[in-house]
Amino acid sequence: MTSTPWRRRDWAGRLFVAPNLTAVAVFMLFPLGFSLYMSFHRWDVFRPPRFVGLRNFHDLFTSDPLFLIAIRNTAIFTVGTVVPTVLISLVVAAVLNRNVKGIGIFRTIVFLPLAISSVVLAVVWQFVFNTDNGLLNIMLGWVGIGPIPWLVEPRWAMVSLCIVSVWRAVPFATVILLAAMQGVPETVYEAAKIDGAGEIRQFVFMTVPLIRGSITFVGVISIIHAFQAFDMVYVLNGSNGGPETATYVLGIMLFQHAFSFLEFGYASALAWVMFAILLVLTVAQLRLTRQRSWENSRGLS
């Protein structure tokens, strides 16, 4: 008697999960498998694919000078985005983690960029970066700094991209870190206060170590996002990742090979290489953190 409703519940559970599972299978697993299959082929969409074995990977590593440029740019972009994002969001989260009247308004303002589509914000930032009449150069002019050719000069183009990307990434990181900070028990701070630690010391030696897990999470997610950067670069710096190769990152390279050069097989191979790099980075990062937290827990006991 009791088993029937349970079995029914099982079925209901499966039914509820089914649409989601189908979506995962159709929109994630199938494209993943398909792109792996295509990475061993030459395919231009219009003609049937031709099996070429490992040639796409071989060409990528041995005869494509732009691959190294894209790797270098992506590395610069990742460092230039992730480090400032973590630092700034730590400070912002600490500032927002106070019981002050009206803090809700500030929190809302800080989280707003999270709600804007990256294409829209790239377009808006294009106006901000305008060399002659852009908001940023006008403000820099007030403090006596001459106009900077943000999107025109190759070396400034990458800086511009990092600025926008950090601006975009900080709110999400702040949400995570703020939540973690709010989970730190008040008693720890009380003890620190009794020991005579000031606010900054409390932050550096109590808060940061206690939310290390969340900081690592933010780091991993930010690296993954930085590696996959595409939409913002495409709108802000053009479809070629210009000027010249200044913002030619892996995402742009992938898109260019797939949709401009119609080399979908080559682009798939590149996608899997990107995946492999990310996997190694993430695993290394997680290992490192696990080791540290183990050391910590042993130290505390």
């Binding site: 060399t131 002659d132 401009s260």
Partner: protein, 441 residues
């Protein structure tokens, strides 16, 4: 709770029924429209789009049995076409560009129109006799004819008549066979550039409306260097030749050294077409695709003039490029007969006459070029010969399936030169890269 599971079930059933009910009219509603119509894929700027639609409407009026569904391309034509075709929805008729059609032709996407022309002998003969040979042949590739030309979109110069007369500068030449030299062009642009007391330009002598690396290349062409050898399926690019490099340097100097043209930063706040339309630039290099924009600009009195000729080609006529677009039919089209009717209409005498009267394009058939309709639609143009003779004074640009790769390389290597951070001699290293791209399309 367990003895009343039906409430939840009823809710689920209700939700399912609602979803099904809302999907049913949606699927039924869009199916017939899509299946019946002939799809026509084209690109146009907003000013051109409306006129283009009038031509499509006229075709439907004359062929009530054929329904046309126009599909306006977003930026990134190739990307959009690839997506359509990969999804099994290749447009029936598509606009084709002289520089890029070979990518599609080589992949078997475009139908060889010779098969249809062979069946339609009378039309084929009429078209051949009325066409400008070079334009017609620009869509001939590896033995097939993959599109029929519809418009000449080569480059020339627009100039603002009021700004010329205010500055007391004599009017520029009136036809391709009476050209001006690079030096005359630069001096004219300098005389037409005005600056405020702070040194900032308030009026530019020259602005460029096309891709700057292409425009620089056309100066190279007018200094006697064709871009590639041969032009069809090229084996070698000639960008390393001294005459080409001199011309590119001349072009780059216009903005970087002589400051008669805005640099990349200076066109960020106001686009080049807007500068010319607003009377803040005296000469603009572009093609007829900007004609609609300038015609609608308030208080703009403009005329057209040929490109200047470089020192290595002095005494010879100036040349434009065979920029042209045509109409192609996709191999996978299930409505090839209807598509052929549409292509025949737009590229044949009927449509070309309409196009010339509407001022949408510079037509490609001689009968339409020399027609009263075309002259009437361009009555504010004094130097009409620049347009009507343009196709005859055009030189081809390379036709290769590897064009997208060539452009990406040109963009990267011309960039520093046009920005003034490297001398034009630095593009000497470009042809080997381009030739390599040609070998591995």
């Amino acid at each position: 709770m367990l003895d009343r599971p039906f409430g939840r079930r009823d809710l689920l059933r209700g939700a399912g029924a609602l979803t099904a009910a809302s999907l049913a009219p949606w699927t039924a509603g869009c199916a017939p429209d899509d299946e019946d119509a002939l799809t026509f894929f084209f690109a146009a700027n907003p000013d051109e789009r409306d006129v283009r639609m009038r031509i499509v409407d006229e075709f439907q009026r004359r062929h009530p049995d054929i329904k046309v569904r126009p599909v306006l391309s977003a930026p990134g034509v190739m990307q959009q076409l690839a997506t359509f075709c990969a999804g099994g929805k290749c447009p029936d008729v598509m606009m084709a560009w002289d520089l890029t059609y070979a990518e599609l032709a080589a992949r078997g996407v475009l139908l060889d129109l010779n098969t249809l022309l062979a069946r339609d002998q009378a039309f084929a003969a009429q078209l051949r006799s009325d066409s400008v040979g070079a334009l017609y042949d620009s869509f001939a590739f590896r033995g097939g004819q993959y599109a029929l030309p519809e418009q000449w979109s080569g480059n020339y110069l627009f100039y603002n008549k009021r700004l010329f007369s205010e500055a007391g500068v004599p009017a520029p030449p009136r036809a391709w066979d009476q050209p001006w030299s690079f030096d005359e062009f630069r001096d004219t642009a300098a005389a037409l550039t005005k600056r405020s007391a702070s040194g900032r330009a308030t009026q530019w002598g020259f602005v460029n409306l096309w891709f700057s690396y292409y425009s620089a290349g056309l100066f190279g062409m007018n200094n006697g260097v064709p871009w590639a050898t041969p032009l069809k399926s090229p084996a070698h690019f000639n960008f390393g030749e001294d005459a080409f490099i001199e011309a590119v340097q001349f072009y780059a100097d216009l903005s970087n050294k002589h400051k008669v043209a805005p640099d990349a930063s200076e066109v960020q706040s106001m686009s080049a077409p807007d500068l010319f339309a607003a009377g803040k630039a005296a000469i603009a290099m572009g093609g007829h695709w900007r004609y609609q924009t300038f015609m609608r600009a308030d208080g703009l009195d403009f005329d057209v003039t040929p490109l200047p000729v470089g020192p290595r080609r002095q005494g010879q006529p100036a040349h434009s490029n065979i920029g042209c677009t045509g109409l192609a039919i996709s191999t996978s089209s299930k409505r090839q007969e209807q598509a052929w009717e549409f292509v025949k209409f737009a590229t044949g005498p009927e449509g070309q006459a309409l196009i010339s009267e509407s001022s949408l394009f510079v037509p490609v058939l001689r009968s339409a070029l020399d027609s009263n309709g075309f002259a009437k639609a361009h009555q504010n143009i004094g130097n009409l010969a620049v347009l009507t003779q343009g196709p005859a004074y055009s030189e081809g640009l390379p036709v290769t399936p590897a064009w997208e790769k060539i452009v990406a390389l040109m963009d990267r290597n011309f960039g520093p030169v046009l920005r003034g951070s490297r001398p034009a001699t630095s593009i000497k290293g470009l042809p080997p890269l381009l030739d390599e791209a040609l070998r591995t399309p």
